[in-house]
Amino acid sequence: MALFSNTATLLGKELRTEFRSRELLTTTVVFILVVLILFSFAINPTSEESREYGPGLLWLAILFAASLMLQPCFLREQGNDTLSSLRLAVDDPFAIFLAKLIANTLFLLLTELLMLPLFAAFYNIPILPKLHYLLLVLFLGSFGISVVGTALSAISAQARMRELLLPLLLLPLLTPVLVVSATVSVSLLDREPVIQWKGIAFLAVFDLVFLTALWIFGEYLLEE
């Protein structure tokens, strides 16, 4: 189907562009690292508290990092007006969004995976026991952040004060992701781990709702 082949082509472009410079990935990784360290200075976690607060702080750090990482998403298409050539070239503008949100999800996941060992070390939280479930939560949460973030970065790219605007638009919208991901992560990493399937289902629903909304309204986000 044309949508999927276009998405694949564009995804290739997104990945190639990023891996050539790696600026986005490196800055995001460093940012999450800095935030995690700063949190530990501000709160001074003992071992027991870490288990309760750590995952929440990790998700906070991911959210903050994402709100910065998503800024260039559509901004970088403005310099040479490549957004117009993309819109001209593809039949379904949703392909543009799909490619970007998949790329953003991958970038977020990559930075999270790099951060996980450090997170486990700083906060003394063993993550291996329930790693596969943790990865599932990370994926669903990151996907939700990317869907909403990609859509909103298309909006903020067309407004003033976009560096401040994007986090302002994004963070309130993502509170469900933060609450649920953090809570599910906490119970996963608890001494007696519990898998909250209701939470995982909720995250999937969140992702689906906004993916559908983006599918319906995406073309208007790009309109001139």
Binding site: A2, S21, L88
Partner: protein
């Protein structure tokens, strides 16, 4: 729905019917009605801010008109949504961080051009960028940027070509090359609509000229005005 990607050009015209474009309270285009026959090479003249760029972007379907209808008579399917003109705007509309070749392959693939790598190579040779095909566009000079922009616009062999001030950034050699290329493209049956300032080798290709002022059509060689008068009042 897939758009036409004809390898042989089916002569296609361009029809604007009462096109309005409003930005806030400002009407950038006012009831523009224009019929361009297949194969014509039309020069669009007018002062800066007269609406030339907006009209071209409406034709390219990048800008959505506030009112009015755009269609492509002569195409397999006349409806605007099925058609994809070639468009060269003020920016290159290619990726600086990719090479010339990568850019062309990207746009070829997106538009379902058969054998995208071969097509990219063919175009690069045509525009004289084959030696620099592996270099990132970021390293290109202004003239080279214009060439890659043109190549990108032609990748899918459009039957309508839209050109916003094509000679920008080109030295006399470049302009001569462009005039020849545009002439070739037009002779192959591609309809051309280009915005210009004043007379040049490029304007000499035009079979017709239309003048815009404050978003409205105020002169047309089709209705008797001379080509020169249309073009020379267009000085900035």
């Amino acid at each position: 729905m897939t758009a036409t990607t004809a390898t042989t050009l089916s002569p296609t015209g361009l029809r604007f019917e009462n096109i309005d474009k409003r930005y806030g309270g400002l009407l950038a285009l006012r009831r523009v009605s224009l019929e361009i026959a297949p194969g014509e090479c039309v020069a669009l003249a007018g002062r800066n801010g007269s609406g030339k760029t907006t009209l071209l972007r409406v034709a390219a379907r990048i800008v959505r008109p506030t009112a009015g209808k755009l269609s492509f008579p002569g195409a397999a399917n006349e409806a605007a949504t099925h058609h994809r003109p070639g468009y060269v705007g003020h920016s290159t509309m290619v990726y600086d961080e990719l090479s010339a070749q990568e850019n062309l392959i990207l746009f070829a693939k997106l538009q379902n051009v058969p054998q995208p790598e071969a097509r990219a190579e063919e175009l690069l040779r045509e525009v004289g960028l084959y030696e620099r095909r592996g270099s990132l566009v970021r390293t290109f000079s202004r003239g080279m940027r214009q060439r890659i922009a043109i190549a990108r616009a032609l990748v899918h062999r459009p039957s309508v070509l839209l050109f916003d001030e094509p000679a920008t950034g080109l030295d006399p050699l470049g302009i001569a090359w462009l005039a020849q290329s545009l002439g070739d493209v037009n002779r192959r049956g591609c309809t051309v609509l280009m915005s210009l300032h004043g007379e040049s080798e490029i304007s000499a290709l035009a079979t017709r000229a239309v003048r815009l002022d404050a978003g409205a059509v105020v002169g047309d060689t089709q209705t008797g005005a001379s080509l020169r008068s249309i073009l020379t009042f267009a000085g900035a």
